[in-house]
Symmetry: C2
Subunit: 428 residues, 2 copies
Amino acid sequence: MKKINIGIIGLGTVGSGVVALLHQNSEMISRRTNCELTIKSILVNDITRKREHINEKYLPLITDKESVLFDDIQILVEVMGTIDKARYYIEKALKKGIHVVTANKDLMAKYGGELLNLAEKYKVSLSFEASVCGGIPIIDMIKTSFQGNRISSILGILNGTTNYILTLMEEKNVPFKSALKQAQKLGYAESNPANDIEGVDAARKIAILASMAFNTKVPIEKVHVEGITKVDIQDILYAKDLGYRIKLLGMAKEKDGFLKVQVNPVFIPLSHPLANINDVYNGVYLEGDFFGPSMVYGLGAGSFPTASSIVGDIIAASKAIDNKTYSWCTCFRDLKIRDVMETHSNFYIRMTVNDKPGVLASISSILGSHDVSIYSVVQKKSHEGHAELVIITHKVQEASMYDSITVLSSLSVINKIESIIRVEDEEQ
Amino acid sequence: MKKINIGIIGLGTVGSGVVALLHQNSEMISRRTNCELTIKSILVNDITRKREHINEKYLPLITDKESVLFDDIQILVEVMGTIDKARYYIEKALKKGIHVVTANKDLMAKYGGELLNLAEKYKVSLSFEASVCGGIPIIDMIKTSFQGNRISSILGILNGTTNYILTLMEEKNVPFKSALKQAQKLGYAESNPANDIEGVDAARKIAILASMAFNTKVPIEKVHVEGITKVDIQDILYAKDLGYRIKLLGMAKEKDGFLKVQVNPVFIPLSHPLANINDVYNGVYLEGDFFGPSMVYGLGAGSFPTASSIVGDIIAASKAIDNKTYSWCTCFRDLKIRDVMETHSNFYIRMTVNDKPGVLASISSILGSHDVSIYSVVQKKSHEGHAELVIITHKVQEASMYDSITVLSSLSVINKIESIIRVEDEEQ
């Protein structure tokens, strides 16, 4: 039986999960793979800290001793997080001919290309399944199973925290702020939740997925990002009435040689497979020219699901050692990323207006003069002379949409433009 | 760039899809994999036959010339179907050190173990992603991404034909026979639909998946199989009323050292991810000790989706050539398969009874004396002195269930036991 030694950097939530998995299932893994995996060293900041799932007493913990860390290991598992320090260790390992497994999406979204080039240069593998959607093997699917296909679109619920918040808002009819507090109480959201609720976390993930599926670099700063902080409970209720559900989606679509990549709240039809993915679950829906539409769903974060993906990568790396298989950057195309103002979407617009005859006529005339064509209109809840008007548009260019909104805002009969949310509906 | 020659046996629906894919996406595949795939020879029965998607004039078609077929190829793609003839060619290829990709579930369900042993002996790979659920990479997920996990259960909608029929029955309120005719008209069901509607096709697929996930041989004759021919439109309507949907599921679960493997119609709660997979789509829901619950969904049959999986396997095999990676049978456990009479399930029972006082009391007393405990009862539609009674039970051993049914059938107040369908509901 082949023997492989592993070094691990970091022993937080994810690192502890990896150790727990390797302890619990090591015999089964050996029999499945004909390979014995041994944890040789674990680099930590604090040897005395208590940790989840594991008894740290029996672990080969070390602190800041690089020579020991890289000594006699064939695979390095980076689960420390951060960008610069993690990059330092990963580069060092690759240069020593050590295969690397990382769960670091911030690093991969920013320096993935460079690190893969380095892996190619030193003929080792660099795997990062756990960097996107925890326990869901979406990177393996794109990289191996579906690689005969031209992928045309990816739509993903890529962040469990925001999906939990949106689910709670809909199911318990609570406003955003209370839902966020509840998510924080349950440990789903951090005390500083900005990365999740502002869509930054999802943006990094869609950048990684899009670069792999479309074989082109997707700089994170080119991804248009809107979070869920402006989603009102009122919008959630209207969505339901109209047969939709609001989800924070990461989206990447290729059309006419351009890539559209964005993260924002979206109305999706209840019949869409992603509409039924609730709570902290993640899901990715993608379309290819041969496999057609496909979706994968599961837990996108957490100690154990993330460990599952990391160990899948460790086993793949252990095979790569014998095979001399190595990774390289597959971004051989150079697709332009379309500016969001040039993209086309359907929109949901909610506004409060004066409840007078002729108001709808003036609004539709302004929209029409900006090429914004109306798909449906609902008018509701007239009180104190105000009515709520909900419009869903046909596909329209983002720039025209916002030009028309500027003009509408200046109309005296319009009290307030309350919300504007994109609508993803192939049937329109 | 590495050059790989491929031989193909069979050029029907699936074979034509493979050829179409390799023609259409060959340049992209070369750039992604650094490998040039060439179709060297295609063994067919009839060179003159017209084929879908492809212009057969430019193809290297050959008939029954084995020496030419195996000449200068590194990968053989078997898409001819049948068991014995396909096995003959595959064994011959493996013995010659040629890597094999097959879509043949009948063959793999019956001789998978032997063929994998042969692949190990001759140090070549044998891949069969396309044999289960067409374009869905469920075998890759189990075999690679999830291999650090102990899988505890697999539930799958594994047959598109029956899923289409059940969807049509529910949505259009048509009986089984009309729905079958419609499926045949659209080409989803064959003129002899027995393998699909009797559950045999799904049984082969769950046998393959279970053997891989639980690392144990699952002889096809040990899988308990019931098809959908007895599912009545009335049951579909009751399911809907009670918050369920009827699906034909392939199921495999490990418990206490035993494996439960069966195919039968099941009531699943509408909130279950599989409940929303309709029409010809397939989906597989599985649970592992680390990744948790996960589901993958897509097209389970058809020329193009199946070709997608075959080409994924071809690319993997092309890597195996350099790496000297080979396949072996991973059935190192010897789990006993529990006899269906010893398994426990929840049941839905529909019967017509005399609409008299005391009837429910005698029925529940008989059920109770056989340890069948009632979860809920609905009584409906009394006409001509008859009422329809629907009972959902708590978990009960199959043998007790059928003993109680035998006694119930002899009761004079019971007109007819109309249907008995298992219920999959974790919450009960």
